[in-house]
Every structure is written in structure tokens, then in C-alpha cells.
């Protein structure tokens, strides 16, 4: 007996080791990507898992769970994508136990596709047909402009505008800036009164990309068989030079975004504006509760007077991750979550999400005044911005790395060495290196 037992234990250990290696090896294999596999409903009751970092998402999913007893969705929440959830997804994908559905921002979709982490749901019922429901540029993001490819369902967008302290601007007699030149002039006046017009956020490189987007710049393109990296395009450098000027003359603060210190700067009125996306409405109202009623929203300042161009910052999609056993049900849930009035209304109520569907822009909840913004119908401004967003912007396949390297350069600028253009140059070089390391063809 003793011998048998000890052998059994050793055997168990060996088994454990083998199964561990087996799991991981299975993860790196997986089925072929690209072709839209047949998408059939599963039999019986289906349990789906969905990972997202939208505040209050569980309440929205509860609505679905009540209506669909046969397809129950369990929500897992995590940190925002670049803050950790993407890393978790990549680890889960290589271990073969990723959730069925995941929230993925548009800028990260190419990365997930390159890592073979997305299921093509083009052949799932109603998916390809829903193309016309969505704002054109968002559909381009989830299909990569290809036929017979749908890798995610667009969820929300982040059309950008300018949040500003209406009361402070009025008190100081500063006109609301409509061009970037006026914005810089306003920055000077505000600085002379002891405040800052805004902060330059080192880590929000996607915010900076939104500004480049507004200036009709592009950071990536994938025409044919190779990627082009153009972080140092003239448009991109124009934006960099502009903000470099504000940083060098101490007209913008260096407080890191998304910190208590940053909230404090808005709450105490030391920062006066924020060029941000529609979802930022939530960030200000929760971070600066003492300033309720004092804010207003105006369109982004323009490069040329009279132009009407907006950038986009963020916005997510709901993707069916590789390895899901129920792509049909997952796709149906994703469609419901991002197109149905009840879900879109709930998402807006919980998290100020701004729908990616054309019909969603006309939701009753989006035509109401918002108390925090002095009763202004702020979504009208964003609806205009959404239609002024250039639809050709393309994200690169290693954005986490690009953001990280550019942010390091931005950090040096805020520390007093180098320029934003230098940071873009370094980012350009390191991005090309990273694509090379991942064996992704790129023009050098």
C-alpha cells in the first residue's frame, strides 16, 4: 500500500506538471484566425463571462440576465485596459482561459488581432447586418476595413470637446477660446491670475493622439502588406510644438492625470479647462464635486478659425475573445449591449457612455440638460463633434508599447529635458523596433 501511495503521489505530481505544460502549449496553438467560422447557437443553457471596467456595468448586464434566462452573463470588473486588463487578457489568452467577451478600446483592437486574440463573428446572426447601425468610423475600427471580418461590436465613442469653468472665465473676462491661438492666449491670462488652463498629462498619450486626430494627422497606416509608422508626421509635430510651447512657458501644469492631486486641481479651481472626451463628463463630476454647476462644454479649439474639426479619445468595443465556446450567444449579447435602447440608456446613466450607434445619439437621455454643467445640454456639443471626427484614423498593432515609450519621453519633457517632438521620434523608432520584434512587417 505504501509503495502504491507514494507512486501515486509522484504520478499525480507528474500529471500536474504535464497538464500545466499542456495548457500553456494548447494556448499558443489554437485554431486558425481570419476566416469567419460558422457561428451556430449552442444547445441548452449558456453561461458567458464578460470582463469590463465600465462603472456600473453589472447593473446593465442584470437587465440582460433577467430577460434571457438561458444565456446568463457573469461580469468581471478590472482596471482600465492599459492599466492591467489587457495584460490579463493576453495572459488568459495564452493560457486558454480568456473570458468569452472583453471590453477592448479601438486603439487596442489591432494589438489583440495581431496576438490572435479575437474571434471573427462576421457570420454570426445579425452581426454583418448591423453595419449601418453604427457610426461609420467605428465600424472601420472593428472590421479593419476588410470584408467578411467583424472582430468586435462598437460600444462607445469619445468625441472630444472642451470642458471649461464657465464661472471663472466670465469672472476673469476671458472669451471662450475657439482656436488654439486663443487657447494659448487664455492660458497666459489664467496663469497671470495664479491658475493653469489645464495640465499636460504625461500618460494620456491616447489623448495626445486625439489631438493629432483632430489635426488630420495619422500615426499608423496599413496599406497592403506593410505597416507605416508616422508618429513624426507634420501634423503630429505641429501638435507637439504647440504643447511644447505651453509647457516651456509654464502655462500648463504638470500634475499627473487621474490622481488625487489632479482631482484636487480641478476641485479647487486651479485648473480651468480640460480638452477631453464625452466620457470625461463623469470624471470631472466625480473628481471635482465642489465645482458642480460651474462647468460648461464648448467645441474643441480649432487650428484655423472657422473650421469644425474634432478629435476622438477612447471609446471601446465589445469583442468575443478567442477560445469562447459560445460565439453565437456572445455576439448576440454584444449586439444587445451596444444597440438596444435599454442598454444604451443604462450605460449612459451609469457611466456617461456615448453610444457608437447612429440611433443611440438620439436617445432621450442624451437630449437632457446636465445639472453639473449648469443644465447645459452638453451632449449636443458632442453629437456635433462625433460627426466632425475624421474616419481614417488607424491604430497600430502595439499601442501599449507605443503609449509607454512616448509617455516616457513626455515624462522627460515634464522633468525639464528634451521636447515633445523628441519623444515622438523616440516613440517612432521604438515602435518600429517593437513591430520588428513581433515579426510584423513594417516600413523602416
Amino acid at each position: 500500500m505504501h509503495i502504491k501511495n507514494s507512486k501515486r503521489i509522484v504520478a499525480l505530481g507528474v500529471l500536474a506538471a504535464i497538464s500545466l505544460t499542456g495548457c500553456a502549449a494548447g494556448g499558443s496553438g489554437g485554431s486558425a484566425s481570419g476566416d469567419a467560422a460558422a457561428c451556430a447557437p449552442s444547445d441548452g443553457k449558456v453561461d458567458l463571462t464578460y470582463t469590463s471596467w465600465i462603472p456600473g456595468i453589472d447593473k446593465v448586464v442584470d437587465i440582460w440576465n433577467k430577460e434571457n434566462p438561458d444565456v446568463q452573463v457573469t461580469v468581471q470588473t478590472g482596471p482600465n485596459g492599459n492599466g492591467g486588463t489587457y495584460k490579463n487578457f493576453f495572459n488568459q489568452l495564452s493560457a486558454g482561459n480568456a473570458p468569452d467577451l472583453g471590453q477592448i478600446e479601438y486603439d487596442a483592437l489591432p494589438n489583440f488581432r495581431v496576438q490572435d486574440g479575437l474571434t471573427n463573428i462576421a457570420s454570426c446572426k445579425n452581426v454583418t447586418e448591423s453595419k449601418d447601425d453604427f457610426i461609420d468610423w467605428t465600424w472601420n475600427q472593428v472590421t479593419f476595413g476588410e470584408k467578411d471580418s467583424v472582430y468586435a461590436i462598437p460600444q462607445d465613442t469619445g468625441p472630444m470637446a472642451m470642458y471649461y469653468r464657465k464661472d471663472l472665465f466670465e469672472k476673469a473676462g476671458i472669451p471662450v477660446p475657439t482656436t488654439w491661438d486663443e487657447y494659448a492666449a487664455a492660458a497666459k491670462t489664467i496663469r497671470s491670475q495664479g491658475g493653469y488652463i489645464t495640465n499636460f498629462p504625461q500618460n494620456d498619450v491616447n489623448w495626445f493622439a486625439g489631438l493629432v486626430w483632430q489635426a488630420d494627422g495619422r500615426w499608423f497606416s496599413n496599406e497592403g502588406d506593410k505597416w507605416d509608422v508616422t508618429l513624426t508626421s507634420p501634423e503630429s509635430e505641429k501638435v507637439a510644438d504647440y504643447w511644447q510651447g505651453l509647457i516651456s512657458t509654464d502655462l500648463v501644469s504638470k500634475v499627473p492625470a487621474w490622481t488625487d492631486e489632479w482631482n484636487n486641481a480641478y476641485n479647487t479651481g486651479s485648473d480651468w479647462t480640460w480638452i477631453s472626451a464625452v466620457w470625461g463628463a463623469n470624471s470631472i463630476s466625480s473628481g471635482a464635486p465642489d465645482t458642480s454647476g460651474n462647468w460648461a462644454v464648448a467645441p474643441m479649439p480649432q487650428w484655423k478659425a472657422g473650421e469644425n474639426k474634432a478629435g476622438n479619445w477612447g471609446g471601446s468595443s465589445t469583442a468575443v475573445l478567442k477560445g469562447s465556446k459560445h460565439p453565437y450567444e456572445a455576439a448576440q449579447f454584444a449586439l444587445w449591449l451596444n444597440t438596444s435602447d435599454e442598454a444604451l440608456t443604462a450605460l449612459n446613466k451609469e457611466a456617461n457612455l456615448y453610444p457608437a450607434t447612429k440611433a443611440g445619439l438620439k436617445l432621450p437621455v442624451l437630449s437632457e440638460g446636465v445639472d453639473f454643467y449648469g443644465g447645459q445640454k452638453i451632449y449636443d456639443t458632442f453629437a456635433t463633434a462625433a460627426n466632425e471626427t475624421n474616419s481614417d484614423f488607424v491604430w497600430g498593432p502595439t499601442m501599449t508599447q507605443t503609449y509607454g515609450d512616448v509617455a516616457d519621453g513626455f515624462g522627460e519633457v515634464l522633468g525639464g529635458s528634451g521636447t515633445l517632438t523628441d519623444a515622438l521620434k523616440t516613440g517612432q523608432k521604438k515602435t518600429i523596433d517593437a513591430l520588428d520584434a513581433a515579426a510584423i512587417p513594417v516600413n523602416k
Binding site: H2, I3, N5, S6, I9, V10, L12, G13, A16, A17, L20, T21, A24, S28, A32, S33, G34, K87, F90, S94, R113, V114, Q115, D116, F144, Q202, N203, N222, D225, K226, W227, K254, V255, P256, W258, T259, D260, E261, N264, A265, P397, T398, T400, Q401, G404, A407, D408, F410, G411, E412, L414, G415, G416, S417, A434, A437, A438, A439, I440, P441
Partner: protein, 301 residues
């Protein structure tokens, strides 16, 4: 040493009793050791030898054996070596300062002249009981130019600027670990036989002479031990600088070797991250070994 040969021969002749029992008692350890120590290390080494291949811009990634490609990339990676240089500078300054403090505190606690030893022993040790991340967050607020209770000072002298942030982190690490190292040295002091000190006193030595000429040389092994722990800890700095990234833009994504590994794995470029980890582990091993050899040779002299 002289008696080894005889029992060894004996042991070889007598068959080991209770083989099964030994196997059963060892198995849990062996399995866990293999699963959570050997396997991950082996896995990391294996992963570090792979490179990715694919066809086209969205081709499916395939991992193939790439030999030492990743290691060549590690050695060409300026940011990684800059981070190693940064923690080396950190270690050269912070470790002696911290161990100096720890030694002085331990000697004071051991001195017969000090009252309230129990209180001070606990007071010095308490910071170690604070989790490292919490300590870093707390100090982050103390350093912050706007939110600090000492904002009058921190807004004028930026403790989180690129030139100062490394030493601000050193201060946090020292604060956390000085009590821990003190305790190790102090327990070594307690273990010393009191006759030595009686003899020294009879010979007319004062407390300072006893501390310098008797206590410090006798607890040298404990000091060497704490130094090795500290060197390893320095090379593995992660929590404090990572937390500080949310307080300042001065901590880059490759500030310390471990942060660089973490950043690289998030790309995700797991093979390069694995190669970095292996190089870092080897570097840690070599530095600890060199330090040990160096101090041993000194001790022999």
C-alpha cells in the same frame, strides 16, 4: 570534518530504512517545489529562447526556437541597462546608509545605557509591518507638492523631480527596512556570550570601544547577511517606484529592471521579458556571490 569518512562508509553499507515514509514525507515538498519553483524557472528559460514568426500584417503569430536572439536584444537594450545602472547607484548609496542606521540602532538597543528598550525595539520595527505598497502610497502623499501636509516645503523643493525621485524612493525603502535589518543584527548581538564583555570591561574598555572592537566584528556575519538581502532587494525594486508612477512623471516605464520586465511583458513581448528576467536573476546571483566572496576573503585576512 575529521570524522566524516567513517560514518559515511557506514551509512553507505546500512540500507536506508523507511524509504517509503521518506518518499511520502518528501513528496508534498517535491511536488510544490517543482510546480512553483523549478517549473516556472524552466518555463521562463524556455520562453526566453523563442521568437515570433508570422505572415503578413495580421498573420497568426507562431513561436519558434530562436536561440539566443532575445538575449542579444537584452544586451542591446539601452533602457534595460540604464535601469540596472540606476538600481546599482541606488544600492551603492542606500544599502550602506540603511545598514549603518540598522547597526547603530542595534548597538544602541544592546547598550546597557539605554532605557525603554522594548518600546524602541518595537517602534523601530513597526514600519516593516506596514505593507510596502501602503508605505509607498503614504510617502507619495507626504512628498506630493500640493497634497502634502508639508506642502510649504515640498512645493518649493520638488522631491518627485527626475533628479530627486530616486533618493525619495531610497528614503521609503530605508524607512521600511531599517527596523527589519536592525532586528537581525540585534538578535546576533543578543546571542553573544556576556563573558566577553565582562572581560573587556575588566581590561578597562569603555562601551564605545566594546561596540567598535568587539561587537561589530562578532556580528559581521549578520551584517553580511543583511547586506546580501538588501542587494537582492535593490535589484528587484518594483513596488515603490511602481506606486510612485501615479504621483510623478519622473518614474519611467523602465525605471528599474523589474518595471522594465513588467512593461515588456505588457506589450506583450513575453520572450524578451523572460530573457530580461533570466539576465536579471543571473546578475543578482553574481552580485550576491561576488559580495559574499569579497567579504569572506576580508574576514579571512
Amino acid at each position: 570534518m575529521t570524522t566524516t569518512s567513517v560514518p559515511r562508509l557506514k551509512a553507505r553499507r546500512t540500507p536506508v530504512k523507511h524509504k517509503r515514509a521518506i518518499a511520502i514525507f518528501l513528496a508534498p515538498f517535491a511536488v510544490l517545489f517543482a510546480a512553483f519553483y523549478l517549473l516556472p524557472i524552466g518555463w521562463a528559460i524556455g520562453q526566453s529562447l523563442l521568437v515570433v514568426e508570422r505572415d503578413g500584417t495580421f498573420g497568426k503569430p507562431v513561436e519558434v526556437f530562436g536561440g539566443l536572439t532575445q538575449y542579444i536584444l537584452v544586451f542591446q537594450n539601452e533602457a534595460f541597462w540604464a535601469s540596472v545602472g540606476r538600481v546599482a547607484l541606488f544600492g551603492v548609496v542606500q544599502v550602506p546608509v540603511m545598514l549603518g542606521f540598522a547597526l547603530v540602532l542595534a548597538l544602541l538597543l544592546d547598550s546597557p545605557l539605554v532605557k525603554g528598550k522594548k518600546f524602541f525595539r518595537l517602534a523601530f520595527f513597526v514600519p516593516y509591518a506596514v505593507p510596502g505598497v501602503i508605505a509607498a502610497i503614504m510617502w507619495g502623499y507626504l512628498y506630493s507638492p500640493n497634497l502634502s501636509p508639508f506642502a510649504a516645503f515640498t512645493s518649493g523643493f520638488d522631491l518627485l523631480a527626475p533628479e530627486t525621485v530616486l533618493w525619495s524612493i531610497a528614503n521609503v525603502v530605508t524607512w521600511v527596512y531599517v527596523g527589519y535589518n536592525m532586528l537581525i543584527i540585534y538578535s546576533a548581538l543578543l546571542a553573544l556570550p556576556s563573558e566577553i564583555f565582562e572581560a573587556a570591561r575588566l581590561d578597562g574598555a569603555n562601551q564605545l570601544q566594546i561596540a567598535l572592537s568587539i561587537k561589530i566584528p562578532l556580528v559581521m556575519p549578520a551584517i553580511v547577511l543583511t547586506a546580501i538581502f538588501s542587494i537582492i532587494g535593490t535589484l528587484q525594486l518594483l513596488a515603490e517606484p511602481q506606486v510612485f508612477r501615479s504621483f510623478t512623471s519622473s518614474v519611467s516605464s523602465t525605471f528599474t529592471p523589474n518595471i522594465a520586465v513588467y512593461t515588456t511583458s505588457a506589450v506583450p513581448n513575453v520572450s524578451l521579458a523572460a530573457a530580461m528576467s533570466v539576465v536579471l536573476a543571473l546578475a543578482t546571483f553574481i552580485m550576491s556571490f561576488v559580495f559574499l566572496k569579497f567579504t569572506q576573503r576580508k574576514g579571512d585576512q
